[in-house]
């Protein structure tokens, strides 16, 4: 097994990987920015090294410093988690040069899947159904018009270097082509320094469903079922589940086998994910591959019993995959709600501040993967994902009920979070019946206030009682003090004025 691993990340995912290492008896090294001195990943690791100031470019993105520390600390391997350097082929090469094991696929694979256009071609050539669209970059407006005509409106323009919805524009008719092209190119240039664009058919009523893969260096690849990730807001996933209500055993097998073929086509190694778009007729199309651990890997862990991070660590140590495809069984249902520092009642505006009180849910079937604690200061430097609440249930219905009770138990005071959104979401009939697609949140305002309800009356009473109590406490305190204090004087003076005549 590995003896010492450096975890090149922060937050919930760094903690999750550190825990896996500790459970395998592997010594751990954390790196941290000035803003993260008190963070959980720093306190959980055996060793901790400062790597620079708060902005990620000066710390978590400094591959050179991280490699230097791995050497100084005597770590054999680096786990990049997700984000930061996880899909950076140059960093992978630098690890190789330094004699360090990078826990993930080869630089070549990262690069091939990082360029979405190359990925489309690779997958087409491997016989994988791909979202209809162009396999070459869009050269100019004329070219765009021709391609759009061919595949049929509406279409989407996307950045080849893209991800997270940046450099992306929907085009409904040919009048919009020129403007969209300019906008997408500008955005792609500024975000990725690369304005290569391609075009895809805009599929409607689609779901976003992905397949989790594990691959060892001996060519063994298995799939661990699918994850349903259609509940998204501006291309950011909010709720994921496994299995998907849209997938049956036969479709799971088909998608899984295609995903394995895709992985083999690029000589994949470690954990990875193939994202598919699935239409109403259950046709599915390759969208992209994520060559790293995903945020939502945990729902797969709960239904398969496979600890994906532990398997990554084992395989990185040169071990063979412990599971054959026939060992993988889907048991029950898992749902994940992403807990972010955003205010759902204020257009998901990022919320910053100190967590002054924190109480996490627990009990049967509840898992919290968190990176925060009471006293933690949420800043704008990093991603707003602060924790994941992951629930297992025997059935989807039980998982939903359990998720609701866990969300009700989850108390975070000091910042606004996505918890109220999830609570309301899990009350909607469409979610409960599994009738979801990627436009769910564009069409339904789950936070809508439908006018006075029984809760309105309760809220009014609660507010009035708090007002009554604080006035009572104030008077009691003033009387107890003896010195009535300035507030009391004011109160008495006003009372005089107001005395009924």
């Amino acid at each position: 097994m590995l003896k010492k691993v450096l975890v090149a990340n922060r937050g919930e995912i760094a903690v999750r990987v550190l825990r896996a290492c500790e459970e395998l008896g592997i010594a751990t090294v954390a790196v941290y920015s000035d803003a993260d001195r008190n963070s959980m990943h720093v306190r959980y690791a055996d060793e901790a090294y400062n790597i620079g100031s708060a902005p990620a470019r000066q710390s978590y993105l400094r591959g050179d410093r991280i490699i230097d520390i791995a050497r100084r600390a005597g770590a054999e391997a680096i786990h990049p988690c997700y984000g930061f350097l996880a899909e950076n082929a140059e960093f992978r090469n630098a690890c190789d040069d330094a004699g360090l094991i990078f826990i993930g696929p080869s630089a070549q694979t990262i690069r091939a899947m990082g360029d979405k256009l190359v990925a489309r071609r690779t997958m087409r050539d491997a016989g994988i159904p791909v979202v209809p669209g162009s396999y070459d970059s869009i050269k100019d407006e004329d070219h765009a018009l021709t391609v759009a005509e061919e595949i049929g409106y509406p279409v989407v323009i996307k950045a080849a270097a893209g991800g997270g919805g940046k450099g992306m524009r929907v085009i409904k008719s040919k009048d919009e082509v020129a403007g969209a092209l300019r906008g997408a190119a500008a955005e792609a240039r500024s975000a990725f320094g690369d304005d290569t664009l391609y075009m895809e058919k805009m599929l409607e009523g689609i779901r976003h469903i992905e397949v989790q893969l594990l691959a060892d260096r001996f060519g063994n690849v298995i799939y661990l079922g699918e994850r349903e990730c259609s509940i998204q807001r501006r291309h950011q996933k909010l709720i994921e589940e496994s299995p998907s209500t849209a997938v049956d055993a036969e479709m799971r097998r088909k998608m899984g086998e295609l995903a394995v073929t895709a992985a083999k086509a690029v000589g994949y190694e470690s954990a990875g994910t193939i994202e598919f778009l699935v239409d109403k007729n259950k046709n599915f199309y390759f969208l992209e591959m994520n060559t790293r651990l995903q945020v939502e890997h945990s729902v797969t862990e709960l239904v398969t019993g496979v600890d994906i991070v532990i398997e990554q660590l084992r395989m990185a140590a040169g071990r063979k995959l412990r599971y054959r495809q026939e060992d993988v069984k889907i048991n029950g249902w898992a749902i994940e709600c992403r807990i972010t520092s955003e205010d759902p009642y204020n257009n998901f505006m990022p919320s910053v501040g100190k967590i002054v009180s924190l109480s996490e849910p627990s009990g049967p079937g509840v898992r919290v993967d968190s990176g925060v604690f009471e006293g933690f200061e949420v800043t704008l430097y990093y991603d707003p994902l602060i924790a994941k609440l992951i629930i297992w249930g025997e059935t989807r219905a039980q998982a939903i009920l359990r998720m609701r009770r866990a969300l009700n138990e989850y108390k975070i005071i000091g910042i606004r979070t996505s918890i109220p959104f999830h609570l309301r979401m899990l009350e909607t009939a469409r979610f409960i019946t599994g009738k979801i697609d990627t436009t769910f949140l564009d069409r339904i305002n789950v936070l809508a206030n439908d006018g006075p309800s029984t809760r309105t009356k309760l809220a009014a009473i609660a507010a009035a009682l708090v007002a009554y109590r604080s006035r009572h406490d104030l008077i009691a305190k003033s009387l107890a003090d003896g010195s009535a204090g300035p507030n009391m004087w004011k109160f008495n003076a006003r009372r005089e004025v107001l005395r009924p005549r």
Partner: protein, 168 residues
């Protein structure tokens, strides 16, 4: 003591008396027994109302109470009878009456500015886009009105709380 709670366009009147865990609320002729405890300061309360147990977040922002129950958010304006009488005899400030100041809810970069002074806007109209935390966030008009002034420029970096626009 009588309390007036304005919530969701409704005005609820109730009488509250008692102490400790034995509070009485009379609302619409019905008497409810209440016990209120602050269990996690500063804002999480346990409320038992006629033996129904609730967990409620209540924040007081100068008499405007923000209440969250099971993910549902309500805003309640609460006055006791004294405050109400006081309000009746206090002359209302009419300077800047009806003016809404839109401030930056976080530090960020002004990505786009979608209105100009004099524009008439509907409630919910996008006013500007602020980028922070790798995300673009649109600020919308909290009520219908006219843009009185625009105090920032596109591409400008703004601090938290900075006045961006004024709406009348």
């Amino acid at each position: 003591m009588r309390y007036y709670a304005q919530i969701d366009g409704q005005m609820l009147e109730m009488d509250i008396e008692g102490e400790g865990d034995d509070l009485k609320v009379v609302l619409d002729g019905e008497t409810l027994v209440a016990s209120l405890r602050l269990v996690s300061p500063p804002s999480l309360y346990s409320l038992i109302l006629d033996n129904q147990s609730h967990e409620v977040f209540v924040e007081n922002r100068n008499g405007e109470y923000v209440v969250m129950i099971a993910g549902e958010l309500c805003h309640a304006k609460v006055q006791d009878e004294r405050a109400k009488r006081l309000a009746a005899v206090t002359p209302k400030g009419h300077a800047n009456e009806g003016e809404v100041v839109i401030r930056a809810p976080m530090p960020g970069l002004v990505i786009s500015l979608d209105v100009s002074p004099g524009d008439v806007v509907e409630k919910g109209k996008g006013l500007l886009v602020l980028e922070a935390m790798k995300m673009q966030n649109e600020l919308r008009a909290p009520q219908a009105g006219t843009i009185k002034s625009v105090n920032v420029q596109q591409g400008e970096r703004v601090e938290n709380g900075r006045v961006l626009l004024v709406l009348t």
